[in-house]
Amino acid sequence: MEKFQHNQNPILSIKNLRTQFPTRQGLVCAVDGVNLEVNRGESLGVVGESGSGKSVTFLSVMGLIRQPGKIVSGSIIFDGQEIIGLPDADYRQLRGKSIAMTMQDALTALNPALTVGSQIVETILNHDKSFFQSPGSYRRAKEQAIEIMRLVSIPDAHIRFQEYPHQFSGGMRQRIMIATALACRPKLLIADEPTTALDVTIQEQILDLIDGMKKSLGMSVVIISHDIGVVAQNCEKIAIMYAGQVIEIGPSKSVIHKPKHPYTSGLLRSIPNLSKLDQRITPIKGNMPNPINPPGHCRFLERCSLPIESCKSPIKMYHFGNSRSVRCVHNGIGL
């Protein structure tokens, strides 16, 4: 939180982003007016259930939305530069070099037919101009790749450099993904569900690794997760997404201890608490609304415990001090 003085110059600033996918059933508004900011050196956690638009938001940032999906409106400013509509060649220079993303499933994201080493080397050779066609460039890139593999604590990196993804365990594959992402020392790392397929003990190792890398490389980090616990422990700021919108944002501690949106508080009450074994969980009733032609009113209305008349009109984001914002007319009163 000591980083808030950098507010003037965030590394990433998403404004009013709308990303839509036309389908046979209708228009899916996967991301519907998202505003997010990531400051330099800061870690932001994005929490939401499947279909809340958290991955699509950051795929939009990476310029990886495929046809017929489309960014309809909004602006994404990365390091002072508008990146929506950037020509492909320029985007390729940015992607992997300045912004890197690790994908959700490390097994499908890595190429099974190439050694892990060559996949890391590929990133380095593509982005680092100093390697361009100079003699011995592959050898030097290889050395750099082995170094980054050591950095992410892969034992016997020089041997494992030659191995294929299937020879690695889930946790090790995730490390390779992170190594590939970090190979060019990006300014921003987006980790999409970095620990979802992993066991808790391995999850802890990976989260510690990301945290350590963030500190030693001085980069900003976005962790996308469905697990509010993972994000609460590892991020300074937390954004809760629901049905394509950010519904609450603020410093992790304050959001967890005093949630202001009924969904956030419902989410926290749905998680069994190991410290209080006898405490009953209270599920949120119902399901997420259909993303096709979403309602104009509060998206959480049907599941909310505190519905009132004014919830039936579109809800704007209310801003508070302490950099907290919430998309709810109650402003946290009555929770």
Binding site: D199, I202, Q203, L268, I271, N273, I284
Partner: protein, 335 residues
């Protein structure tokens, strides 16, 4: 098979497992025929002994690949155990023939992990849920109509949804269909194999609460498998911790969660991200991945990752040591 009515019924455990062992031969094709070596076995379940009393929920936790699911399936003889005995209400079911097994399965059901893979996509909900009635009671779909309607209603689905196909439902609703199918025969014992791990947090809470309600209503006994300690801590009365095919610690939920003894259990519980304890404490973190089950280390299988490893751990397999009450631990620190 008619199970003998015994006056001492209450003290006979509903399920008793003695020294259960399941080994998988991983040799395939020609090497299976010509190779004489015995080294290529994976002991997925390695000498497991426990009892479940009627009306209790026993929770099984462990990392992926430790043999949780294999154990659950062996209890129902969905997989044939290599050796060991399983008793259902005092009757040995290990060697039942198919006919008797069918009768055993009537009162012993399973809820599967993945609600996307465990429902036939070409069958309607009505066909799926009425199938057990057809198999076990010879009822036609028409005859089973009212019972299907009842059970669907009980698990929170509408009778209007009977003609729908699985793809028309969300993950949580599909899991409800799976639960309805398991409970329509009024079983006594249900193996719940990670029933909530494929679901979002808010939906997970709904299904957990449903399972707890149904347990009361149908006076069920659960064997609850999960990799999520918070979930097991919430639903189970007793917890067993499994590591590489062996139970390393077992006891009441209070014993395990609040007073864990085995270094593995301690690390497992400490690794769970908690929303309330945002500041990370210094603690013993597990290094490395679990060893390959193909080549487990000698002595205590946990020795390669244990923070308190001693000389004896490297050679001697620890016995199950009784601490107090029902609390058992297999660790040299306590013998």
């Amino acid at each position: 098979m008619t199970f003998k009515e015994d006056k001492k019924m209450p003290i006979i455990p509903i399920i008793e497992v003695k020294n259960l062992l399941k080994k998988f031969d991983i040799r395939q094709g020609i090497s299976k025929i010509i190779s004489k070596s015995n080294g290529n076995n994976v002991f997925a379940v390695n000498g497991v002994t426990f009892k479940i009393q009627k009306g209790k929920t026993i929770g099984l936790i462990g990392e992926s690949g430790c043999g949780k699911t294999t154990l659950g399936r062996c209890i129902l003889r969905l997989q044939e155990p290599t050796s060991g005995k399983i008793y259902f209400k005092g009757n040995d079911i290990t060697k039942l023939n198919e006919d008797k097994l069918k009768r055993f399965r009537r009162s012993n059901q399973i809820i599967f992990q993945d609600p996307y893979a465990s429902l036939n996509p070409r069958q309607t909900v009505k066909q799926i849920v009425s199938l057990p009635l057809k198999i076990h009671e010879g009822l036609s779909i028409k005859q089973s109509h009212s019972r299907v309607e009842n059970i669907l209603h009980r698990v929170g689905l509408q009778s209007t949804q009977m003609q729908s196909y699985p793809h028309q439902f969300s993950g949580g609703q599909r899991q409800r269909i799976g639960i309805a199918r398991s409970l329509i025969l009024n079983p006594e014992f249900v193996v719940c194999d990670e029933p909530v791990s494929a679901l979002d947090v808010s939906i997970q809470a709904q299904i957990l609460e449903l399972l707890i309600e149904l347990k009361e209503d149908f006076s069920l006994t659960y064997f609850f498998i999960s990799h999520d300690i918070s979930v097991v801590g919430y639903i189970a009365d007793y917890i067993m911790v499994m590591y590489l095919g062996e139970i390393v610690e077992s006891g009441t939920k209070n014993n395990i969660i609040n007073n864990p003894k085995h270094p593995y259990t301690k690390a497992l519980i400490a690794a769970v991200p908690r929303v309330d304890g945002i500041s990370k404490k210094k603690r013993n973190k597990l290094k490395f991945d679990p060893p390959s089950p193909l080549y487990p280390p000698p002595g205590c299988k946990f020795q390669t990752r244990c923070s308190e490893v001693m000389k004896t751990c490297k050679t001697v397999v620890p016995e199950n040591f009784k601490l107090e009450g029902d609390h058992y631990v297999a660790c040299h620190l306590y013998s």
